[in-house]
């Protein structure tokens, strides 16, 4: 899925997305951006809402990934509250993995 960006917070969004490349899925050892887990980022003056999914509900590493997203954004955007909104629609599938993610997975 394409990550949507709008013009108002374009710079911050790009910066946030860049940061999310450093959050790894501990099992697959690929970052969550290349896995296609991030669906959208919504910036307001006070908050950052991360709309994302996991490869499976009750993913054993789910808590750690969500924690990683919150930590990495909270460190950079200290004046924003980071909220993670997990969604299961659209359901994650292998098609969402980027070409770099596929390369790292050896697909």
């Amino acid at each position: 899925m394409e990550v949507v960006t709008d013009t108002i917070y374009n710079k911050e969004k790009l910066q946030a997305l860049e940061l999310l490349y450093s959050v790894m899925d501990p099992e697959l050892f690929v970052n969550i951006m290349d896995l296609g887990l991030i669906y959208d980022l919504i910036f307001t003056p006070q908050t950052i809402e991360v709309i994302m999914t996991l490869s499976t509900p009750h993913c054993p590493m789910g808590e750690a990934i969500v924690e990683g997203v919150k930590n990495v954004l909270a460190q950079q955007f200290t004046d924003h509250v980071v909220e993670v909104n997990l969604v299961w629609e659209p359901k994650w599938n292998f098609e969402l993995i980027s070409s770099e993610g596929r390369r790292q997975l050896g697909i």
Partner: protein
């Protein structure tokens, strides 16, 4: 928000003690086997072999499976574990029960030590079953059905085991003791271990391989064949005595096992993750051992030679059950420990990934050592050659040392926040 949608991993005290204790029991198992090398060419109903088998099935197999089960049930059923407290109590009951039973069998102390050990194991099984039942809830997944049915078979198995322990001291069972022992063993192997492993692997293997199968009905056939064959075997043996008809019922169970393996083979064929690590190779080898045990089965019925029973037991306990645990430990334990130690730090500081928590090279050595040990042991028992058996058991002890060392590396992993590890 996220808290509403994802489950919480069970507390470490409900999982990790099972892995640590199970690893120690594996070392004890290999040492006891070495001390019993001569018994492996005789009848299976000997005090030392009974102690060895109960070390394998309770201290090693069931111990690790309980720990893995408490961790994985929430993943499979998509619900938090019902009661971590019951899980902790079941650990103490199982550990105490297994220790008492193994010592009682080794010295053949029939009476209260053995009966108490059996009662503690029954307590652990009941607590486990309550947790499984409540955690699975209304979950309609085939994997969850297998886990619930396996917990029911575990209760059946351990209750019959307790009755057998009582029967040794206060005889009351009208049937031949050895015949009831066979029912106990069948329920444990085809009910508890086979069905539990079938259920868990049906969910985990696709997850690890990023694989999918369109052949879901195979898992339904597996469920009905494994349960149907076992019920028919037990009922016929109980009412009419054990006969060659048993081979037919075991064939039904084998069809159920083959259906499950075919399902996994289809997942493997359609996997996204092409690289197969040593853990998955070890798991694959364990399936070969299970199918090998079914091939040996006709020899058991067609011959009075008791060594085939021990060959089959070796394929099942040391090949299949041990093989799958050796592989899956390093697919689960590093993640459990990582979640406990590093989850909060993820994204804040540089932390190692779960696969950095153990020595990958040792898993490879463990695989080859396991393969050599298993082949030598089967050859030694088949040829009734005690020297070969002893050499095989030295290889088993090395395998156990490699395993327990690597488990220790994971459990005692330390890191400072600069990112350097121990």
């Amino acid at each position: 928000m996220s808290d509403l949608n994802i489950g919480k991993a069970p507390p470490p005290k409900a999982v990790i003690p099972f892995y640590a204790t199970g690893a120690l029991f594996f070392v004890v198992l290999c040492l006891l086997l070495f001390l019993s090398a001569g018994d492996l060419t005789g009848h299976y109903f000997s005090p030392h072999l009974l102690a060895v088998v109960h070390t394998a099935v309770l201290g090693w197999g069931t111990m690790i499976i309980f720990g893995a089960g408490y961790q994985l049930m929430p993943v499979i059923c998509e619900r938090d574990i019902y009661s971590p407290l019951l899980a902790v109590i079941s650990f103490y009951a199982l550990t105490a029960g297994a220790v008492l039973l193994v010592i009682s069998f080794w010295f053949f102390w029939v009476g209260w030590p053995m009966i108490t050990g059996g009662a503690l194991v029954v307590t652990a099984a009941v607590l486990y079953a309550v947790n499984v039942y409540h955690t699975s809830g209304q979950c309609n997944r085939q994997a969850a059905k297998f886990i619930v049915s396996s917990a029911a078979w575990l209760m059946f198995t351990v209750v019959v085991g307790l009755l057998l322990a009582i029967n040794l001291r206060f005889p009351f069972i009208p049937m031949n003791h050895i015949d009831v022992l066979k029912l106990h063993a069948h329920a444990g192997l085809a009910g508890w271990f086979l069905q539990l492993i079938t259920g868990v692997s049906a969910r985990l293997v696709p997850m690890f391989l990023l694989g999918k199968s369109a052949k879901e009905p195979l898992m339904k056939y597996a469920f009905y064949c494994q349960n149907g064959g076992l019920v028919l075997f037990l009922a016929d043996a109980y009412f009419n005595g054990i006969s060659t008809r048993g081979l037919f019922y075991e064939l039904i169970i084998a069809v159920g096992a083959v259906a499950w393996v075919l399902y996994l083979a289809d997942v493997y064929k359609n996997r996204v993750r092409k690289k197969t690590d040593w853990q998955m190779k070890q798991t694959g080898l364990s399936f070969v051992c299970l199918l090998g045990a079914f091939v040996v089965l006709p020899l058991l019925y067609g011959s009075n030679d008791k060594r085939w029973a021990i060959v089959m037991g070796t394929l099942l306990f040391m090949g299949w059950m041990t093989g799958i645990i050796l592989g899956k430990t390093f697919k689960t334990l590093p993640f459990i420990v990582w979640n406990n130690k590093f989850r909060q730090l993820n994204g804040k500081v540089k932390v190692p990934m779960p696969k950095h928590l153990y020595k990958e090279q040792l898993v490879q050595y463990q695989f080859w050592c396991f393969l050599i040990a298993l082949l030598l042991l089967i050859a030694g028992i088949s040829l009734a050659c005690v020297v070969l058996i002893r050499i095989a058991l030295v290889a088993w002890i090395i395998t156990a040392c490699l395993y327990v060392y690597n488990v220790g590396v994971i459990l005692f992993y330390k890191i400072d926040t600069n990112g350097s590890s121990n």
